[in-house]
């Protein structure tokens, strides 16, 4: 939470990316969230990831639903078009936007209430369809804007600020995304920027449905003892399976690793995901094992993080629909309207 807008003037020595842009060029307006909110760290990670990847900000479309997390797209990439849609329905709006112009980068930002409660249906179906997007859930287990009610990702037995115990089973969106066919599934923690930034970069360069569940403690309503989404709890219980480096085409691979400790996945756009293994024997290309692993960690109270699953050959909705390469929003009358002669033939067939 910053009350004073940062000056527009940039320091001349700020580092620049391949486009000659500084990190400041990827910022948005000043956040209105609470001081210390995990969501602001995620916004910062998005800014960092886009800057590092040298994405042209205006080629990103950022979409969200309703809630604290859904407010955040105002706080990054102010040269991008943004769309704050209705509660739980960002996935359908994003799907439509993606169909209209396949060339932009689609970044969906949502929360646990938005995606796991009211929007669970749309969450499920956007994953099934394999829409080419990065879908980030800023997961804090509570409703912030309405002051601290449990959301559907709150773990059973977790305690609310006012003492109520959650008796409903929590929904794990990572497991759902895995089951429903997302082709890039990761989990991270807003307090671990080192892990989060490369995961966002990997997702942005992934040409399919990429899902990131980012545990993002709510300092106002869910950061107390007994909560399983507090900073302390998540720090203690998160267990990374790997560490990701995203190597874009432009970058030369220079770092050397000990044999057997690194796994490389080449993505469709030519980028390479280099995964340093942390958990022995974890294979992020095996969907079934990933699901088992996540559940087995959960059973012992641990939160598995890292790049949990990646399909090296994702397929997206445009492939399924066999749409033309040119964005649909650029087609004109010539491509779209069959004209009067064709209509006369239609008439003739109806007599």
């Amino acid at each position: 939470m910053t009350y004073l807008a940062k000056p527009k003037l940039h320091h001349p020595d700020l580092p620049k990316n391949a486009l000659g842009l500084t990190r400041r060029d990827y910022e948005g307006t000043v956040s209105t969230l609470c001081a210390g909110c995990g969501h602001d760290s995620i916004s910062a990670a998005i800014i960092q990831a886009c800057w590092e990847l040298a994405i042209q900000p205006h080629r990103v479309a950022k979409l969200s639903g309703i809630g604290c997390s859904s407010k955040t797209p105002t706080y990054f990439l102010d040269k991008s078009h943004g769309f704050n849609s209705v509660h739980g329905r960002m996935p359908s709006v994003l799907t439509g936007a993606n169909l209209a112009n396949r060339e932009l980068i689609y970044l969906g930002v949502s929360g646990d209430g938005d995606s796991a409660s009211i929007g669970l249906g749309q969450f499920a179906h956007v994953m099934r369809r394999g829409v080419n997007m990065t879908y980030i859930v800023e997961n804090n287990g509570v409703y912030g804007l309405t002051k601290g009610q449990f959301s559907a990702t709150a773990d059973r037995g977790s305690k609310a600020k006012r003492g109520a115990i959650n008796t409903d089973e929590g929904i794990d969106l990572v497991l759902m995304a895995l089951q429903l066919g997302a082709t890039y599934v990761a989990r991270s923690f807003s307090g671990d920027k080192g892990q989060l930034v490369p995961l966002i970069k990997g997702a942005l360069s992934h040409e399919g449905a990429a899902f990131l569940d980012v545990i993002s403690p709510c300092v106002a309503f869910n950061n107390h003892d007994g909560s399983t989404k507090s900073y302390d709890y998540v720090r203690e219980h998160n267990e990374a399976v790997n560490f990701l480096d995203v190597i874009t085409l432009r970058k030369e691979i220079t770092t050397e690793y000990e044999a057997g400790t690194v796994q490389e996945v080449r993505q469709h756009d030519g980028s390479v995901l280099r995964l340093r293994k942390i958990s022995e024997g974890y294979d992020p290309c095996d969907r079934i094992s990933a699901m088992n692993y996540v559940q087995s960690r959960y059973a012992v109270g641990e939160i598995a993080t890292g790049l949990l699953y990646i399909s090296p050959a994702p397929r997206d909705l445009h492939a399924a629909l066999n749409t033309v390469g040119l964005p649909l929003n650029q087609l004109g009358e010539r491509e779209l309207c069959p004209g009067s002669a064709a209509l006369e033939k239609v008439n003739e067939s109806l007599r």
Binding site: K79, H81, G82, G96, L99, Q122, L321, N329, G332, R351
Partner: protein
């Protein structure tokens, strides 16, 4: 006994079992009459069911060209034992009952004021075919053959149609023709002639015969829609399916075989409208089609599109509500729920096509209007138009026509420094300029939201900024008045103190009703409303008549309510005439209602006055 005698003017009704393959045989019958130059208007009356429940196909033959439902049945082909009693009861005295006489029926099953024509259909089928499915399917063709012979139809026309239907499937062609002749030959040899005849005429002309849903889908293709999202719901599903079919034909890139369109069958209506809004926000023309329950579900999103000013085309093929209502019956009962869909102060343009031809035109026009007005635009028609084949004028397209993409700033505009405020009214018509995402690296980006914002799209809860925006939206709605289709007016020859307002599928019945009323010297001026917001002409029409009837197919007089609310019209000047049992309105109903009420206003028809005085 009386015998109905009529050439080219009667009603045939087929009572069948759903899923028995009768639909294509019955259509064949109707089309063969059309090919003889005699107008027909067929209607499917079907249950919410796939197999087993009763279904009817009613064909009105009318050389005069009346395409509304007439009511009453002159010839009943009673092929469904489940509905026998009701079907027999529906026949006009002196009419005809055609039935399968394989199994004898007791005399109590018949009426003594109708002519009974028995034909042992099952026996003929069993003797000819061994496969049970063939027995069923060819039975339909056999009775079409027999009826065509009874009505003295030209068998060559029926045969030609079968040939067209099975073009390239010669294996099916020959047995169908054979079945047809089995029926024709049997009827000629064994059945006595009846009083109903079809005689070649020239009253069909260049007109075409198609379903409203297929026409509206084609309108979406011609109008440039590239994204369609929908959720299956009767009676609109065939529109989405027709769009996909038309697109496969017209929108496949000839070089790559790739699709210049995207059709998404969504998980529900909420997602459908969400996809449409997302696509339109991003510069593609998009539409969804649905029915009443879908409108209820879409309402939240419709409010977003209204307030955030995003184009969307929603085609509502209405059915009988409320709730699930009568899902396979027709009504015009979503007028109010569409006009004011969503919470808060909202109102939306609506277009009311009267037939498939206007369905085609208005679907295409709606795509232009949505872009021009940057708001959801509804095309409202109903099951009667959507799911029945209707005779209408040929579809037309002017190749010089260009899509109106509305106020969109290009890269060049932004680069040239054109002034841009997403909600800044630069032209005084309430419509502001927009940009598509990804247009310019530095200029023209903005945040779209359903929360209140200032003229530059910045979030604000300032009361004055909110009011400023809401007033501009009203101004935009005023602009829409001149853009939506104007009403069609038909003045009575001598002018009248009485007017009648109607819309959509009521049109063919109203055409006929006006002719009947004129024939009885009851003169009314008629106005067919084609769009909302109402053009000033509509209010002038009401104000220039002592009294106006508003004829609708719903219980509550929804268009009348809208006229009172939006046109500031006096309720006592507008008399509702309402038909809402789920069947299409008839000229008989309208005539009865209007003549009764005219009587109450002491305007007895001249003829009756003379009789009373003599």
């Amino acid at each position: 006994m009386k015998r109905i005698e009529s050439t080219n003017d009667f009603v045939v009704k087929f009572a069948n079992v759903n899923g028995s393959g009768s639909a294509s045989a019955n259509t064949l019958f109707a089309k063969a009459i059309l090919r003889m130059g005699v107008p027909v208007s067929p209607r499917n009356i079907f249950p919410s069911n796939i197999q087993g429940l009763p279904t009817w196909y009613e064909v009105r033959v009318s050389e005069a060209g009346w395409l509304g439902r007439r009511g009453g049945v002159d010839l009943m082909a009673a092929m469904n034992p489940q509905t026998w009693e009701k079907d027999v009861a529906e026949i006009e005295p002196g009419g005809y009952l055609f039935y399968d006489s394989t199994k004898p029926l007791p005399p109590a099953k018949f009426r003594d004021d109708i002519h009974v024509i028995g034909m042992p259909l099952m026996e003929i089928c069993n003797a000819t075919y061994s496969d049970p499915r063939q027995r069923q399917l060819f039975k339909n063709i056999i009775y079409v053959g027999a009826l065509s012979a009874l009505l003295e139809m030209e068998s060559a026309e029926v045969e030609k149609l079968i040939g067209e239907q099975y073009k390239g499937k010669e294996k099916l062609l020959e047995p169908n023709v054979k079945a047809l002749h089995l029926g024709i030959d049997f009827a000629r040899r064994n059945l006595a002639p009846i009083g109903l005849k079809v005689k070649r005429s020239d009253k069909v002309g260049r007109r075409i015969f198609l379903e409203g849903n297929s026409a509206a889908a084609l309108g979406c293709v011609y109008g440039g829609a590239t994204v369609a999202a929908w959720y299956p719901i009767t009676p609109s599903s065939s529109l989405a399916e027709a769009f996909a079919k038309h697109c496969r034909k017209f929108r496949t890139d000839p070089d790559t075989g790739k699709a210049r369109y995207a059709v998404v069958q969504a998980e529900d209506e909420l997602a459908s409208i969400g996809v449409v809004i997302g696509a339109a926000w991003n510069g593609a023309r998009a539409f969804t089609c649905t029915s009443g329950p879908g409108i209820s579900l879409m309402s939240e999103f419709i409010g977003l599109a209204y307030f955030a000013e995003i184009p969307a085309v929603i085609i509502d093929v209405q059915r009988a509500g409320p709730s699930t209502g009568m899902p396979t019956r027709t009504q015009q009962a979503d007028v109010l729920s569409c006009a004011y869909a969503s919470h808060g102060d909202t109102k939306h343009p609506m277009l009311f096509p009267e037939d498939p031809k206007e369905g085609f035109e208005m679907a295409a026009q709606a795509l232009d209007l949505a872009d021009r007005l940057q708001t959801p635009v509804f095309v409202l028609y109903d099951l009667d138009i959507g799911m029945n084949e209707r005779l209408c004028e040929p579809l037309e397209w002017d190749d010089a026509r260009h899509y109106d993409r509305g106020k969109v700033l290009s890269y060049q505009d932004l680069e040239a420094g054109k002034r841009f405020g997403r909600y800044l009214d630069l032209d005084g018509d309430g419509i502001t300029w927009r940009t598509y995402p990804g247009t310019h690296p530095k200029r023209g980006s903005f945040f779209t939201r359903g929360t209140s914002r200032d003229r530059y799209a910045r979030y604000t809860e300032e009361g004055s900024a909110y009011v400023d925006n809401m007033q501009r939206l009203l101004k935009k709605f005023e602009t829409a008045k001149d853009l939506v289709p104007r009403p069609a007016v038909r003045r009575a020859e001598r002018g009248s103190r009485f007017g009648v307002i109607y819309y959509g599928s009521t049109a063919p019945a109203m055409d006929e009703a006006i002719a009947i009323l004129e024939g009885e010297s009851m003169h009314v001026d008629a106005m067919r409303v084609r769009g909302f917001p109402f053009h000033d002409e509509v209010m002038d029409f009401v104000n220039s008549h002592d009294h106006t009837f508003v004829v609708e197919q719903n219980r509550d007089g929804q268009l009348r309510t809208l006229l009172i609310a939006e046109g500031m019209l006096a309720p006592e000047k507008l008399t509702p005439v309402l038909h809402y049992d789920g069947t299409p309105i008839t000229a008989r109903f309208i005539t009865d209602q209007i003549s009764q009420r005219l009587g109450a206003f002491n305007v007895l028809p001249i003829k009756k006055t003379q009789v009373a005085g003599s």
